[in-house]
């Protein structure tokens, strides 16, 4: 039987959806618990800080609103994205880097597949989607962490804590938080897949890629956070003036 002429696949398939779902599941499963835990304590820390400040002014009633707003808009996405860059980013970069230096990527090409379609795009979309969900889970848990500490540390009852949340946390705050989650996830996926895929130089090269991924991800996340904060504040000022 002449394989080449009878059964040869004329065109490569576009990247396969099941590989993306596999990655989404893998990343989410690996990081859900850690993210939830980190989110809980981010909210808890914010509550502790605000409690000390607000007590001085007798404004403890605003604790829930202020703590939730700051967590959702600023600290929550930032800290959880840092944690994901250390966990998901470093793992993906090391995994792809090892595939590169052990010739697995060359093998994929020789076996008739496109490594971009086969390993990069599924990981990229998998990380973007799952990181977005993980950040959203983290934010939810941070609200819960803030509430928990508010009740047990500051002695506020849950109703009082939650009363000012809708007053202080408006839709724009939530949208800004979710938008940041999406962009941080995009930055993380882009940097870790690129750094991993372009690894050279054996085990040392893999180590270098992981370090570069961590540094580049964190710096770009902080820079984007600053840019988006300035943009959001400017937009708020224009909106209020208008």
């Amino acid at each position: 039987m002449d394989f080449s002429s009878k059964f040869c696949r004329p065109q490569r398939r576009s990247f396969e959806r099941e590989l993306v779902f596999e990655q989404i599941w893998k990343v989410t499963q690996q990081s859900a618990l850690t993210t939830a835990l980190a989110g809980f304590f981010v909210g808890a820390v914010m509550t502790v800080q605000f409690t000390m400040q607000l007590k001085q002014f007798g404004a403890l009633a605003y604790l829930g609103g202020l703590s939730t707003s700051a967590t959702i808009r600023e600290i929550g996405p930032l800290l959880i994205a840092f944690m994901l860059s250390g966990k998901v980013g470093a793992f993906t970069s090391a995994e792809l880097g090892t595939m590169r230096v052990t010739e697995q990527i060359d093998a994929i090409r020789c076996l008739g597949a496109n490594p971009i379609q086969e390993i990069i795009l599924p990981r990229f979309f998998g990380i973007v989607v799952s990181s977005f969900f993980l950040l959203a889970i983290g934010l939810f848990m941070s609200i819960f962490g803030g509430l928990f500490l508010g009740v047990f540390f500051a002695g506020i009852n849950p109703d009082e804590y939650l009363r000012y949340v809708p007053v202080v946390v408006k839709w724009p705050s939530l949208l800004i938080g979710l938008f940041k989650c999406f962009v941080f996830a995009f930055l993380l996926a882009t940097i870790c897949t690129y750094k991993g895929y372009t690894t050279t130089g054996g085990a040392v090269g893999v180590g270098r890629s992981v370090v570069n991924t961590a540094v580049a991800t964190m710096v770009s996340i902080v820079v984007f956070d600053w840019v988006s904060s300035v943009f959001a504040e400017t937009a708020a000022i224009i909106y209020l003036a208008w």
């Binding site: 394989f3 040869c8 010739e103 090409r109 020789c110 076996l111």
Partner: protein, 244 residues
Amino acid sequence: MIEFHNLKKSFSGREVLKGITFTIGEGEIIFVLGTSGTGKSVLLKNLVGLLQPDSGEIYIDGERVDGKSEEEYLPVRRKCGMVFQHPALFDSMTVFENVAFGLRKHFNLPEDEVVKRVHESLALVRLENVDQKMPQELSYGMQKRVSLARTVAIRPKILLFDEPTTGLDPITTNAVNKLIYDLSRELNVTSVVVSHDMHCALDIADRIIVLDQGLVVAQGTPSEMKNSAVPLVVDFLAEVDSAY
């Protein structure tokens, strides 16, 4: 069948291949020997399009294959199966899925044909009852054989081996070398083996090509090599004599 014409390749200004010219006939077992860093692996990677030459020409069955796009290289890669220096098995897949990978990507085969072909390929490399194991559960020598099975599964006309015995103990080295010989004869394919193992080359090669500093410095049959006066060949032969 395979022709290299004045092939040149540089990396960051360092010329690795400085004008390689030689031909390989159909069905031959060719050993390309040379010390580390002389461009042996680069030569193979140029052949299958993993690297592109700076200048020169490569022909397979009379068709020029250098300078093609990734998509245009697919038929070339169906024709040339490459076994890498590392086993290069996919860690997240079982042995079966690894061997089936190329079959599924290169061809539209029914699943029962894929299963049959995978088992045949594993039997060819003398491996049985390992198809549901993960690569990390196998010894390094077995991983190399799975890698070989994955390559022969697509039934290439040309088999390329990049230092197939590096990192193996002497017994496994002999077994892999015998396997290369047997497979080449059983499947009636052309084999190009990049190596620095002159002893093995003298045993199983039809012809030996010796590279030094990016150039072909000697080529001929094993018996011609034994009488060569080229210093590098003499050094290789002296190593063989001292080892055995």
